[in-house]
Symmetry: C2
Subunit: 336 residues, 2 copies
């Protein structure tokens, strides 16, 4: 089956310019059909900038746009013709196999949940993000879908994260840790303590639970999947971005602080570009909403074309490698 | 009044070597009397390495040590002669005005709380840490003392953080934000939402409340004090350390990846050293336990001499600038 990706062309700080550009890049590089969903005139105006001969790019009309400031639940009910709603609809009808969205995260979540439904056994879908470490990348979830969670939710996040890590990142028997403020079993808040108890009580679990993981260790690569509630996960994600961008900016300033430093920086440039690539979230493409009947990649609101291109790649791989099938199988052998 | 600092010479990964060394450096640089608390022979063996002529360094005997793995509460009750307990005792008796400890954070907290008591109006003391931003440093609290909190606790943290920011960092009318996962009032978990309501309901508050702050913005310097529960705060602190150390390591590896990069790095070295200093937690010295009747600086377990020296400086400044007096005055004008 050829995989088609529906892209919300109207969502994100740089829509539709960068979204359309990223979609063209992806259609060309991955030879994949893309459905651009949104206002036809605006999309056509952007497409006119590129030579799209031979690319499978189709426009699906959707006249409304959900703004960042709108309450997601009521917005998706009110605006039936919003680009994100129509894009989800393409997946639900089977016209596309996955969805990429860079606008309101809440709207993308609500539209996906409402339009596609949950996978069996998953009570709360979660946002999974991939963070760089000293070793292999780590999957963190929930990165913001559920501010308040129960231990059972974190257990389901572990199932979903393990499926993603093994299928998309290619980790064999992924190690799962609970994000906590100490390594010992009694550490942390009630949720962390009770989740630890739940994990250790599951003797026949096929999940590779390795215990508590602290925020610092997470980046040294001691586990492959880290679970936490969506409040802590979202703070973690944004602190990671904030610290990385602060250090890189200060680093640049240091290298421009004197003539000598400038010369050094110029000589070391190729090495520095490699580092920049490693820490640039545009390279990671986006977060995956896991636990829904379908595939939805949520990109950063400030995504540029390269991020959209990479998000389309993640969506394609998730479908190809059947992450949802793996989640269902892991759920069956690890039911609570 | 001359300020004397009691230092737990036995706590931390590099005790007593680095603790004694840091204390000697501080006694010399700040001309401040230091009481080294711990096992006399070991401390003397370390002191013998330095020329301490003219320095006011005194040894206070304490034969027991509380290990990192011990449960803090029972350990401080059982080991009356532990270095941390005796060090707190020096402050409680008035022999010293502040305390520096690099061992078990839990033990330092429990001993301080038990030995010194809480400031009036403060129901939960909190750990305040200073994080670098693109602008002035930001004070984050609670960084780990209380895993579970109520809105009233976060309100008190705001009082304590404001006092610290204005007195020690020198910020005029410090801006206080709630660490949250979105800027709008309805965002976040129940604690964040209720805390927002509590802050905005205080019409006569002299605190400079600026709303919700996201993990990313925190590092761009948009506020001076950030409050959250101790679980989220500790995760934030450790993620900050983890990301910083990962980037700096990868950065070093990049600069050693080729001869050209090595030459560039060598030329840019002075600029890079400046950056390293900025992101090295040893430069910040330690976290302050705020809300107790006394001053207690808790250093990182892996503190080297320079961190201990800086921790002694922070302790000295907190006493000199009367942070506790400022907390009490702010509490009086912002009582709930």
């Amino acid at each position: 089956m050829s995989i088609k990706i529906a892209v919300d062309a109207m969502g994100g700080d740089f829509a539709p310019e960068e979204i359309v550009k990223g979609s063209v890049l992806a259609a060309r590089e991955y030879k994949i059909p893309v459905l651009l969903v949104g206002q036809v005139d605006k999309i056509n105006a952007e497409l006119a900038k590129y030579d799209i001969t031979g690319l499978e790019i189709e426009i699906i009309k959707a006249d409304e746009v959900i703004e960042m400031c709108e309450a997601p639940g009521s917005a998706i009910r009110r605006k039936k013709d919003a680009s994100i709603v129509v894009a989800v609809d393409q997946v639900s009808k089977g016209n596309a196999q996955a969805l990429v969205a860079a606008g309101s995260t809440g709207a993308a979540m609500a539209a996906s949940l409402f339009g596609l439904g949950r996978l069996p056994g998953i009570s709360r879908p979660a946002i999974a993000v991939v963070l760089p470490t000293m070793d292999k990348p780590v999957v963190l979830l929930d990165a913001g879908a559920n501010s308040e969670c129960e231990p059972e939710n974190l257990y389901q996040f572990a199932i979903m994260g393990s499926a993603f890590s093994s299928k998309v990142i290619g980790v064999d028997n992924p190690r799962v840790g609970i994000l906590n403020i100490g390594g010992e079993s009694g550490k942390g808040n009630t949720l962390a303590q009770d989740t630890y108890k739940l994990f250790t009580s599951r003797e026949n679990s096929t999940l590779n639970f390795v215990g508590n993981v602290e925020g610092r260790e997470m980046f040294s690569g001691i586990c492959d999947v880290v679970v936490c509630d969506g409040f802590v996960g979202n703070v973690t994600l944004k602190v990671t971005e904030g610290v990385a961008s602060m250090i890189i900016r200060q680093f640049k300033e240091s290298l421009y602080s004197s003539l000598l430093a400038k010369i050094g920086a110029w000589i070391a440039k190729p090495a520095l570009m490699k580092l920049r690539k490693k820490t640039d979230y545009n390279e990671y493409g986006g977060a995956l909403l896991l636990g829904i009947k379908g595939t939805c990649v949520i990109s950063h609101g400030s995504s540029k074309a390269i991020a959209i291109k990479n998000a389309i790649k993640v969506a394609k791989e998730s479908v190809e490698k059947d992450v949802n099938g793996k989640i269902s199988r892991l759920y069956e052998s690890n039911k609570l």
